[in-house]
């Protein structure tokens, strides 16, 4: 049976309105609000003899603007409305949807391994990611909500699927020449939207997805059944997996690193290095780091950290340099570039690519 995430006409309309709020808010921030900032920044430059660069320098030029304040309030509110609207849309159908999600393995497509003793790390439990009530790990219903949340956040376009295809195409050829021996790992696979494109490019490969959140993995596995794709999902800490060293040709971490505190991020990159075959490739695909943004864009992006349930956004995208962490972990042939496909930022998704040296 298929999971039916269809919405009532009312819920469709409500969420379309939320999409409208998000679209307009972003447009206004990048339009008139940025234009006013530019004027103030110009004056600041005349006074000081240089342009404002740091967050601390930009803040007093943007934060007092009433339009900016309202804009950020609506942005925050649109995110709250998004979650509330999605919860309202599905709450009556929750028993049916959850029964479907927890249905025992109906076909031989792939596998799901959950760890009943799994303990979520403190950094993960401390906040609600994306301010989703209950986050996505506290209840199976969290997966149902997050699934639609991601669609609304992507403004109900197919951008995500297209982005992921482009990310997967950015990998250099796998180490193994035998297509059945190619092994691929999707770290922080969530409910699998980042996993499926690998099957298009490497249909005979052995494809694995790991994540912390059991509800998301259940949904990923359910989808694998529906799509008839043999993906192997397991609940594991991304910092320390149970795969043997040298297991994988390609490892993807999409939108994972900005969800990790500094110590974890270093561990995850080291773990990916351990898991790669010599000659294998790790790609971190994420929103662009602050250094790639204008001072105003940087300030706007930074808002996510404290206001949109992205507690580690600033530390990953600003305070650390992921490409430097790749080098520290031992990666050679390290490079970075933006694919420039997203509505979220002009350089989204931003790729950091590292190869493990051939032996």
């Amino acid at each position: 049976m298929a999971l039916d995430f269809s919405l009532s006409r009312e819920s469709e309309a409500y969420l379309e309105f939320v999409v409208g709020l998000k679209t307009y808010t972003q447009k206004a921030a990048n339009g008139p609000i940025q234009a006013r900032y530019n004027q103030v920044a110009q004056k600041w430059a005349t006074d000081t003899g240089r342009t404002p660069e740091t967050l601390e320098e930009v803040a007093p030029l943007v934060a007092p603007d009433d339009g900016y304040k309202f804009n950020r309030l609506v942005s925050r509110k649109s995110q709250e409305m998004m979650w509330n609207g999605i919860i309202a849309a599905y709450v009556r159908r929750a028993p049916e949807l959850l029964a479907e999600l927890n249905q025992p393995e109906p076909s031989p497509w792939g596998s799901l391994t959950l760890d009943p003793d799994f303990r979520y790390p403190e950094y993960y439990e401390q906040f609600e990611y994306h301010i989703q009530p209950g986050s996505y790990q506290s209840h199976d219903f969290g997966a149902v909500i997050y699934n639609m949340g991601q669609q609304v956040y992507n403004l109900r376009t197919n951008n995500k699927a297209e982005n992921m295809r482009a990310v997967v195409r950015a990998f250099p050829p796998p180490v193994s020449s035998d297509p059945t021996q190619i092994r691929i790992l999707d770290m922080g696979c969530g409910f699998g939207t980042t996993t499926w494109p690998f099957f298009e490019l490497y249909p005979q490969a052995q494809i694995y997805g790991i994540d912390l959140a059991a509800p998301l993995l259940k949904l990923a596995y359910k989808r694998a059944q529906m799509l008839e794709l043999p993906a192997h999902f397991s609940q594991q800490s991304v910092e320390k997996t149970n795969f043997p060293s040298g297991s994988f040709d390609l490892i993807l971490a999409h939108a994972l690193f900005h969800e990790l505190p500094k110590a974890s991020l270093r561990q995850v990159i080291a773990e990916a290095y351990r898991l790669l075959k010599p000659g294998g490739t790790l790609i971190d695909s994420d929103v662009p780091p602050y250094k790639e943004l204008t001072p105003f864009g940087r300030y706007l992006s930074d808002w996510q950290t404290r206001h949109n349930g992205e507690p580690y956004w600033r530390s990953t995208l600003h305070e650390l340099s992921v490409i430097e962490l790749f080098r520290e972990a031992g990666f050679t042939e390290v490079s970075e570039r933006g694919l420039g496909m997203g509505h979220l930022a002009p350089k989204f998704p931003w790729l950091v690519i590292g190869c493990k040296e051939q032996e």
Binding site: E12, K69, R72, L73, A94, L98, F141
Partner: protein
């Protein structure tokens, strides 16, 4: 598991930031947006309804002026009204 057992609270692990220098203003703006959303939902519904009825040859305006609601219909509206008001005013009464 019954849906009413779901513990889905508003984001609570971090306090909600204040945007307009006064949290009360934030809440009013929130209510305005919520009302706007509901208004849009109604608007969408109305348009959809009119389109559907027209496909069946029904002229809505004349039909509505002849419509007499049943007690069940009125009870259902009351329930919807209460839920709407709760959604509208909830934030004002928190803390």
């Amino acid at each position: 598991m019954a849906s009413d057992e779901l513990k889905l609270e508003r984001p609570h692990k971090l306090p909600r930031p204040v945007y307009l220098d006064d949290a009360r203003l934030d809440k009013i703006m929130g209510a305005v947006l919520e009302m706007a959303a509901q208004l849009y939902v109604l608007h969408d519904r109305q348009r959809a309804l009119e389109a559907v009825l027209k496909q069946h040859g029904i002229e809505v305006e004349a039909e509505i002026s002849r419509f007499e609601p049943s007690p069940e219909w009125l009870a259902a509206r009351k329930q919807e009204r209460d839920a709407f008001i709760e959604r509208l005013l909830h934030d004002f009464f928190e803390e």
